[in-house]
Amino acid sequence: MTMTPAAPPAVATAGPVEIPSETLSRGALVLRRFLRNKLGVTSGAVLVLLFVVAFLAPVFYPWDYRAQDDLALLTPPSPAHWFGTNQLGEDLFAGSIRGLQKSLVIGLLVGVISTAFAATVGAAAGYFGKAVDRALMWVVDLLLVLPSFLIIAILSPAFRGKSWLLLVVLLSGFSWMITARIVRGMTLTLREREYIKAARFMGLPAWKIITRHLIPNMASLLIIDATLSVGAAILAESALSFFGFGIQPPDVSVGTLIANGTDSALTFPWLFLFPAGLLTLTVLAVNFLGDGLRDALDPSSSRGRAR
């Protein structure tokens, strides 16, 4: 991340211009364009910071999320308890941090995994067509009619005691289908474009056509989808937890904290505001990061260009 880009000219006009003479590959060019987007870079930094805090803070912070401070019940934020405490005297900062660990990992993993899976399935179905298309779309349609929430709820007890990361698999397993259908539709139109034909006629294997040409050309859609599903996954997890599935007490997640704090949002606002603020911060950072990536990947976007 130490590369400071020299500004290339914005449009291909005739005339002498000083330019970096080395030829850059797509990866380098996208990175350079991304680094120009201040908001995107900041959001990336915020996300990294959230991760660092979530995983390092428990080491230094005196309170454990399970420990109850009987001397401080429902105290507002103070130097002793940064985010205040709840009715049991549990430290909210420790709880939020503990919850953030889970929610960040769940949210980001579900967002990335479900979108990547949707892109792969949708692009493969659209590109190969025929039997592949029919088989994959049959699976998609089947999964769409199954009540996913119910199935996760039914399966949850079976996973009790196992790693909560299984929740990631379940949540992403049920959130990719609609995107896959959209991706398939876009692939069907992109497939007929001449540059896809050109790639085929130069002997590029199918999986490379999908990863090099098809998916980058749907990047805007996929990035938006991934950022949306990050937020959705965090909330879905909290909804599951609220009904007693997913993350089980005494363990906490940002979702469960928000659910618990909602009732007292007006009387003891810190119980609600801090976890909700963390969720908002996470989702916003992911969204801006996604916007930045989209602008960097999309050559028609003027925001990635040097000014």
């Binding site: 290339p8 449009v11 291909a12 005739a14 211009v17 330019i19 970096p20 003479s21 030829t23 850059l24 590959s25 797509r26 060019l29 474009r193 001449e194 540059y195 034909k197 050109a198 790639a199 006629f201 130069m202 002997g203 590029l204 090099r212 040409h213 980058p216 050309n217 990047a219 990947l297 999309d298 050559p299 028609s300």
Partner: protein
Amino acid sequence: MSAIDRDSAGKRSDGPVLQVRDLEVSFPTESGRVMAVRGVSFDVAASEVLAVVGESGSGKSVSALAVMGLLPPQARLCGSIRFRGTELIGKSDTDLSRIRGHRIAMVFQDPLSALTPIFTVGDQIAEALLIHGTASRRQAGQRAVELLDLVGIANATQRARGFPHEFSGGMRQRVVIAMAIANDPDLIIADEPTTALDVTVQAQVLEVLRTAQQVTGAAIALITHDLGVVAGFADRVMVMYAGRAVETAPVDDLFDHPRMPYTLGLLGSIPRLDATGRHPLIPIEGQPPSMIGLGPGCPFAPRCPMVLDRCRTTEPDLLPVAGGEHGAVSVCVPLTLHTAACWRSGEIERTDAGPAEVFGLDDIPAVDLPPRTERRTVLRVDALARHYPVRIGTILRRTVGAVRAVDGVSFDIREGEVLGLVGESGCGKTTTLMEILELTPPMSGSIEVLGRDVAGLDRRERLAVRRDLQVVFQDPVASLDPRLPVGDVIGEPLAVHGMGREQIRERVRELLALVGLRADHANRYPAEFSGGQRQRIGIARALALEPKLLVLDEPVSALDVSIRAGVINLLDGLRVRLGIAYLFVAHDLAVVGHIADRVAVMYLGKIVEIGDVATVFGAPRHPYTQALLSAIPIPDPRVERRRERVLLHGDLPSPADPPSGCRFRTRCPLFGTLDETDRSSCIDAEPVRRQRGPGDHEVACHFARVKEVVQYRS
């Protein structure tokens, strides 16, 4: 309103029908105000055909829309547009509606979107009459049928009840013309009326437009980019560049003595079927300027070979050229005068310089190849066929027939040779190409690339053959991945065939230089390039692996005229330098005549005539070839007027149900002149392609005879 009522301003008045003065149109955009039209003045006299010529973005269509009052509301208009003496600028839309479609009619480029799909064409024509109250409902219906008959639609009474989708493109354009002349207008504005059509259909539609003009006596403002059409159709020409008129003249003067370097360049940049000798076309360097924040000076200066310092600082006015009829130099330029906007038009006048002298020419080095029979065959196609099944039913799908897209095509290409494949759209040219490029066993027949039959290739061998067989597509926008930097686009085939990163970088630079681009262009995305530059990128990609055969699918038809010449010259030069063979598919016979050594003419999935370009174009024997050649407009008004046209009737029959015997007989001009016994042989027996003329000139016609339709390279 009464001033422009029918009685008060009839056709007897002598003044110009349309007077446009200092018209300026601008649009706001994100990056600044686009000055689409920057002070255009012109007149259209009664019954006159004025052609407005220019490249895309020169402001010709915007001027036309301004006259019609059809510009979007955010457009800003200045100047004056007077129709029969009545000022149109500032009139309300309701007032304009009374003139539009009644006194001024418009024919749009795309006949598909100009008609409403849910009404019958008869009703749509009748509506044009009813809305202006010129006929009762009964009369309107009758008149619609008469009009359809007038524009050459057979069975007009029945066809009037048909819906637009039941009509072909050429037929729809006829309907649009019928609608335009329904109210007997004083002025018809035709905006690229034949651009979307095939040449043979273009010839028909122009004929209809001419008839329509004779019947109504209307003046026509013809907007086009095709100088060939102008030569055959117009009385006067106005050339536009960057939102201004740069030259106006009667059609003969303009083609004989152009006085503005841009016009000279345009005339030199188009390949001509009747050109003598093999000389390169004149490319106009650079691109049309951006219409945002145009600097002072002549907008053509950056591309002009005769540019002076003065040109860069002051923009020349449109003034009569010396030696013409000396009229008073005033704002109101007399109609018949030859005017040009160039500081050096006087000089050009004195020397009477042609395009070659002004732009300079470099000769194409001659191709020195051994005789054809001694050269290696790079591509042999034998009896290739491709049928697409037609299926009906959703649950129980059954095949009810086949679209015979390609139905027995045979040809071969030798090393270093250019074969042009021509024919109307829908004749199977592109399908043939795709079959060759797929490198999979064809449905029937055989394809041999460099002596290897594609049917027996395994995966690795196929990849090896791909090295030697590359393709350039028609649409430079669609054929480059918009998300891939140009360097990666060009380097992709190299990476596929296992070249190292450093080598690729080196080769990409070489290739960029080869097609006339700069090395630093590699870091940019395709969207930052103009159409011509993008096509160069596409060519560079195709050349990356040094193929033996390059397949070109209409490589220049999507490009502007002035850009086209540069790309054609590039292709011409590359082939001489690198010794590649081309399979060049095009519908523009003039381009094929310019670049190809041999030509194959396709009709409904079959090759009807094949041979040397000089033989086929100079002495065509198949009536279809003759018709195609005679439909190509030649950019020379004198030649155009003398030409005898072989007009084809109707459109291409459906390839799902081709006529029996000779497929061309339904449209064949020769068929009509034959007697009963000869006709029956056309109907019953499909003519076999066999040698008719000198060398390997082969024709598939029972009654092939030479008919010279153009003076090809005498």
